[in-house]
Symmetry: C2
Subunit: 236 residues, 2 copies
């Protein structure tokens, strides 16, 4: 009917998501109910419902009788992240190649277009959000309700890790970013060709690139030891 104002609740939810993904709200930050309440013109009741929902999606942690907090990221979770991401994302892309509709493929191309624009002229936040949107669309394409909860949880920290580590400070890191963009193009092509095997392989490549980029950031220079994760020796 009339969504001119789009429901304050939705507005709040989107605002919080965006703030968390871009690290404007950092892991561990407290959220003040009263403050947000009058900032968004909502009473505490619907606001707390938004908190619950975001907690369910992995954006927030709720503790009894204590304020809601932005969910934490530790080095343990970083390891868990790269353990789970290639597998889940491989499965998602594989299913995406099988199930994607034409409309969704258009959405994906649009997302990639925006990502490229952000690469050239955008801020780190813009890049992270555009990249997030790209992967989000691949999740929609897969359409598997059992994989999406983990996938969406991964995307949250993918964006946050990206904000931390994907600030191109060297020429090599910049090259990695444009390589990521090329991989996106390849992913679109694989999906359009309904090539599920290729799509799954590209997912793996894409995560290896991410891992390298982070390794580069964490390990300043000569130390050529990958962080805690042994080199992959496995069939393509």
């Amino acid at each position: 009917m009339k969504d001119e104002a789009k429901s304050r609740k939705t507005e709040l939810r989107e605002h919080l998501k965006m703030s968390i993904l871009t690290l404007r709200l950092r892991p561990g930050d407290d959220l003040d109910e009263a403050h947000l309440s009058d900032e968004f013109g909502l009473s505490r009741t619907p606001l707390r419902e938004v908190f619950r929902q975001l907690a369910g999606e992995g954006y927030l942690d709720l503790r009894k009788n204590r304020s809601a907090r932005v969910s934490e990221m530790s080095y343990t979770t970083l390891r868990d992240f790269f353990l789970a991401a290639p597998m889940v994302y491989g499965a998602i892309l594989r299913l995406a190649a099988v199930n994607a509709t034409n409309v969704q493929i258009s959405d994906l191309k649009a997302a990639q277009h925006a990502f490229k624009a952000a690469l050239h002229s955008g801020s780190a936040e813009d890049r992270a959000l555009a990249n997030n949107r790209f992967h989000d669309v691949t999740g929609e394409m897969s359409g598997n309700v059992y994989l999406l909860p983990s996938f969406n949880r991964l995307l949250i920290d993918h964006a946050r890790i990206g904000m931390t580590f994907y600030r191109p400070q060297t020429v090599e890191m910049s090259e990695n970013l444009s390589l990521a963009s090329q991989q996106h193009d390849a992913i679109i092509a694989a999906i359009e060709a309904r090539d599920e095997v290729e799509a799954a392989k590209l997912a793996e490549d894409h995560w290896n690139l991410s891992r390298d980029q982070i390794g580069m950031f964490v390990m300043p220079d000569a130390l050529d030891v990958p962080m805690g994760i042994p080199p992959l020796s496995k069939p393509a």
Copy 2:
């Protein structure tokens, strides 16, 4: 402090979960706020918060201005289920073998003990809940926050599918149930031996058994996407 009455909210949440897992509340059933509200002596505010949380975990679906519903299960979701379950559960068990603490191993043995008891003298509901508890412990053991959301979502429908299809009406189905119990024992042994490869293999066997039990449906082959990092060897 005093949890003698365990908080009505928790009580409600556990009651709803149990009812949904055992199909006492069936997929698509409407939940009446007013009715539950006075049945559990809670006002609608905390009750609605429980709804949000359960929706986030996949037990319920919420629609704007309409009553909360028990999440649906369609033939599509059944297919998606068997596509995702072996992969996710394989990863969970593999990580469980690496990370399980001694306390958790004791918990798992206790859960298996209860499962065996339910097999011999329990109802279908008891079996489903005991089996759910067993798998739930394996999830705790894995300790990977990125895999758990999907795993827990799978466990919900695992229990519901079990309630539907695992009613031993023939000798063969009964034999399958006791085979499932044997597999549980083997899983415990693999975890105790820290044998991640064996654990992952057992996960696959376990799901193949489930798939066979539901032989009347055409089940797709499982996704065979390997986990990113081959041999895990890390401290607890």
